[in-house]
């Protein structure tokens, strides 16, 4: 049964290839069903392999399957091989499971899109890359998947590339990821230099013998790579812009799978992290908690439903990094799984809302949708309670575990994590109340519903400050008339008096229900009450035991911390209820500008790159043109002039040639004389 490991990535790859060739002909919806079947088959294969692995005793739960030799380069040899061990199978299970549900959802969501089959082609390719990433048995295969998911993310974010904003969002994601990729690559090179191999089995064996400085360097470089992929400070700027892609993309890539690759990488390389200096893990934890906090504050001020979820994702990823830095690898993976459930659920739910409202994404134009979209609303509420950390939903258990380990690392980290939990509960509740409760605002003309939005878009004469929204990258401000004529309405523009919000078809609501169940019950895999209920920890421990920190707090501390987390969640919900549920819309506070603009981080990067950055690039270009090209051209010039000079010896006169002959002969004679004299 374990031999079927290769099937897990092979099925999505086959789906991709078939869709490349036959996609257009299959058309809608057959292409979607084919892609879903491919990923579904992959999920079945994962379950089979998982069952096989469970059957093994816990010490020998690592199955290696080598397909063929990929890079036979003398002393450096890399095979295409898979490593099925508890960590990779856990990842495979939830990746393929959630991917199947999202594929199903996308059949309904992408209905009517002219490039339907191409979407599923990219999705399948993405799943293939992600599976290669987690199943690979060496750093290079993982890197193959790493790059693959980055490329697919680019394709999918800029799927509707007719709009410049979408295309630039895709580019931004790719370029920011590239910076992280540099860190990954150098870490890979260093690992090879230090250990002579990049296979995980060899790394785990040899990590203990690494010099602390080497391990530190590798760990920091891996952190750079992970920070790029998992949107941590300072490389998180691409994720909010990535919301320009279709919602299934946001759910799959930017909530459940690709962004978790960084955490996976750090967990996989935990022996190296353990061998590094102690301050490295502290740095990871600090970066994680700061990212969590900052992203949460930004999420408080967002008005786009998907942007809130994007910043929320960044924040939750920060929690996972905090866990990794505190030595809580099991907790990080636990939170990864539960986060995948409830975040994908909420993204798909928001997609359902957007679909039902005719592509409206601004929360200020929603409201009172819980009766009109019942299934969406109920499932969304489940996800909301999970992320807010309300027991017994899954999010509570995972978040609490992370906070526990953080407390043992440093109470300051714990406190910041607690504040973030409060903010999380607050902004998620705000989102829920604005969207599903309150008064309906989607039936009013735009100018009435959101005056400042209308002014932003230039649809009203400017009164007060004209805010240049960083989201509106279009060159000319759209007017009401030309927006209606453009056909596919860009989001959130124009009065939509004729909308009738409707519930989504079963292909979209079934995944929501499944994910809601998982978000509710998913905590069961790692309940902290006794070691028999800590099933995930027992499952993963052989893989992460080198770096795993073991809790030392007494039980009452654990109860206290758990209680504090619950209290923080409830306080956050309560504040949001007071501000957004009880008051009329006109009395609710507006978003503070600085939070809306994300502390101006993104715009300052853009300004820097446009100004001093551009000067730097010009200098480099000048250097390349003048010095590098000059050197190359200079060599050519020298050769040409030298040749031109030497050409003059070819006089064509036989007597001159005879002279040269004689001179040569004299040289030989000279050599003989000198040799004789020296000898």
């Amino acid at each position: 049964m374990l031999d079927l490991t290769w099937l897990i990535p092979a099925l999505p790859l086959a789906g991709f290839l078939v869709l490349v060739v036959l996609g257009k002909r299959l058309g809608e919806p057959l292409a979607g069903w084919l892609a879903t079947a491919a990923v579904g088959g992959s999920f079945v294969a994962s379950v089979v392999v998982f069952a096989g692995l469970v059957g093994e005793p816990s010490e020998s739960r690592a199955f290696s399957q080598v397909l063929f030799e990929w890079v036979p380069a003398g002393g450096f040899s890399v095979d295409v091989g898979f490593l099925a061990d508890p960590l990779s199978m856990t990842m495979c299970l939830f990746i393929t499971g959630i991917a199947t549900l999202i594929h199903l959802y996308a059949i309904g969501y992408m209905h009517g899109d002219p490039r339907f089959s191409k979407f599923f082609l990219y999705l399948n390719l993405f799943v293939f890359s992600m599976l290669m990433l987690v199943l690979g048995d060496n750093l290079l295969i993982t890197f193959l998947g790493w790059e693959g998911v980055g490329a697919c993310s680019y394709f999918l974010i800029s799927f509707w590339h007719e709009s410049d904003a979408n295309a630039s969002a895709g580019k931004k994601a790719f370029v920011t990821n590239r910076i992280g990729d540099w860190g990954y690559m150098v870490a890979m090179f260093l690992t090879f230099t230090a250990l002579g191999s990049i296979q995980y089995t060899d790394i785990i064996e040899g990590a203990g013998g690494l010099a602390a400085s080497t391990a530190t360097a590798i760990a920091l470089l891996l952190l750079v790579g992970a920070a790029g992929k998992s949107a941590q400070i300072p490389l998180f700027v691409w994720l909010p812009d990535a919301m320009a892609g279709p919602t299934p993309v946001s759910a799959l890539i930017h909530a459940a799978t690709m962004v978790t690759s960084g955490v996976y990488l750090l967990t996989r390389m935990s022996p190296v992290l353990a061998a590094a200096d102690d301050w490295v893990t502290t740095v990871i934890a600090v970066i994680g908690v700061l990212t969590a906090l900052v992203a949460a504050t930004i999420a408080v001020g967002q008005t786009d439903i998907k942007k809130v979820l994007a910043y929320s994702t960044i924040s939750q990823l920060g929690y996972m990094f905090l866990a990794v830095g505190s030595g809580a690898y099991v907790a990080a993976i636990f939170h990864m799984v539960t986060h995948a459930f409830f975040k994908a659920l909420m993204f798909l739910g928001s997609g359902s809302v957007i679909h039902g409202l005719g592509d409206e994404q601004d929360m200020r134009r929603m409201g009172a949708l819980r009766k009109l979209l019942p299934i969406t609303a109920i499932t969304y509420l489940v996800g909301w309670l999970a992320i807010a950390g309300v027991p017994p939903f899954s999010g509570f258990w995972s978040k609490d575990e992370i906070l526990l380990f953080a407390y043992e690392k440093s109470p300051i980290l714990w406190f910041l994590g607690l504040v973030t939990a409060l903010l999380t509960a607050f902004y998620m509740s705000r989102q829920v109340f604005l969207t599903f409760f309150g008064t309906p605002r989607w039936d009013r003309p735009l100018e009435e519903a959101v005056p400042e939005l209308a002014r932003e878009r230039g649809l009203l004469p400017a009164g007060g400050d004209v805010v240049d929204d960083a989201d509106a990258d279009e060159a000319d401000a759209p007017t009401v008339a030309n927006v209606y004529e453009s056909g596919h309405l860009p989001h959130g523009i124009g009065p939509k008096e004729s909308i009738e919000p409707h519930e989504s078809p079963w292909t979209m609501t079934l995944p929501l229900v499944v994910l809601a169940v998982l978000a509710l019950a998913g905590g069961a895999i790692q309940l902290p009450f006794s070691s028999s209920t800590k099933r995930l920890e027992e499952w993963l421990l052989p893989v992460v035991e080198v770096g795993e920190h073991h809790l030392t707090s007494p039980t009452d501390t654990k109860w206290f911390l758990g209680g504090a987390a619950v209290v923080a969640g409830i306080v956050g919900i309560a504040i949001a209820a007071v501000l957004y549920l009880r008051r009329r819309y006109e009395d609710q506070p507006a978003s503070p500008l600085i939070l809306l603009k994300g502390w101006y981080y993104d715009s300052s990067i853009a300004a820097f790159m446009g100004g001093p950055g551009r000067k730097g690039f010009d200098a480099v270009a000048w250097f390349d043109r003048t010095i590098v090209d000059g050197a190359v051209n200079g060599v050519a010039f020298l050769v040409r002039t030298g040749g031109g000079g030497l050409r003059r010896t070819q006089t064509g006169f036989v007597r001159a040639y005879a002279g040269f002959l004689t001179a040569g002969a004299i040289a030989v004679v000279l050599v003989m004389v000198l040799r004789g004299a020296l000898l």
Partner: protein
């Protein structure tokens, strides 16, 4: 027309030479004297070849050199070679040279005063001096270490012809045959080169083929 009769300078030189030879034989022995005299002839002839304006005079100086070389061959007991030298070189090759000179009517095509190639003359002289000095230095500073080839030992019984012949037809048979082939090719080549295109007798004002750069001449019939 100058006067006929013996040039007094020639007489003086001949007399001085004779005196020198007799003196040398008495003072320093036969072979060194022979070497000195023959060497002088050789170098004098060589100088004459290089310096004489008239090609005929140059050819005759060459003959003098060849004679001197033949004398030196005899001094080194290579009698057969001396004879062959005189017969083949002086008797055939130089005659061939003279035939060609006469045939083509080349008188003084060389202008020894100036050289069209800039710097060729001083450079040539310098190179020549360097080469002579170098070779002499090699000769002077080194010792001959070679050993006689086995089986080719030269028995000094005055019969070098048979020894040369024996060697020629045993060890060097292949080279001998090739050389004879070479001679055949040379003869064929000479006949081909000397032939004209259509077998027409060559006249000075009727070129048959033209070299690039030649003006195209037209004869009376209008053919070029």
């Amino acid at each position: 027309m100058g006067r006929t009769g013996v040039n007094p300078v020639t007489l003086l030189v001949a007399a001085a030479g004779t005196v020198l030879v007799i003196l040398g034989t008495w003072l320093i022995g036969v072979e060194p004297t022979v070497f000195g005299a023959a060497g002088a002839i050789v170098l004098g002839g060589a100088a004459g070849v290089v310096l004489n304006r008239n090609p005929v005079h140059a050819a005759l100086s060459l003959v003098a050199t060849l004679f001197g070389i033949a004398v030196l061959f005899v001094a080194m007991e290579a009698n057969f070679l001396a004879a062959v030298q005189v017969i083949v070189y002086a008797g055939a090759i130089v005659v061939l040279f003279l035939f060609v000179i006469m045939l083509l009517g080349v008188d003084s095509a060389d202008d020894l005063d100036t050289d069209p190639l800039v710097g060729q003359r001083p450079v040539a002289i310098v190179l020549g001096v360097l080469m002579a000095a170098g070779l002499v230095a090699v000769v002077v500073t080194s010792t001959i270490t070679g050993a006689p080839q086995s089986g080719a030992g030269w028995v000094r019984d005055g019969d070098d012809i048979s020894q040369i012949g024996r060697l020629l037809f045993s060890d060097h048979l292949f080279a001998f045959e090739i050389t004879s082939l070479l001679l055949v090719i040379a003869v064929v080549g000479a006949v081909v080169l000397a032939r004209t295109a259509k077998g027409v007798q060559i006249d000075q004002d009727e070129p048959v083929a033209s070299l690039p750069g030649d003006p195209i001449l037209v004869d009376e019939d209008g053919e070029s």
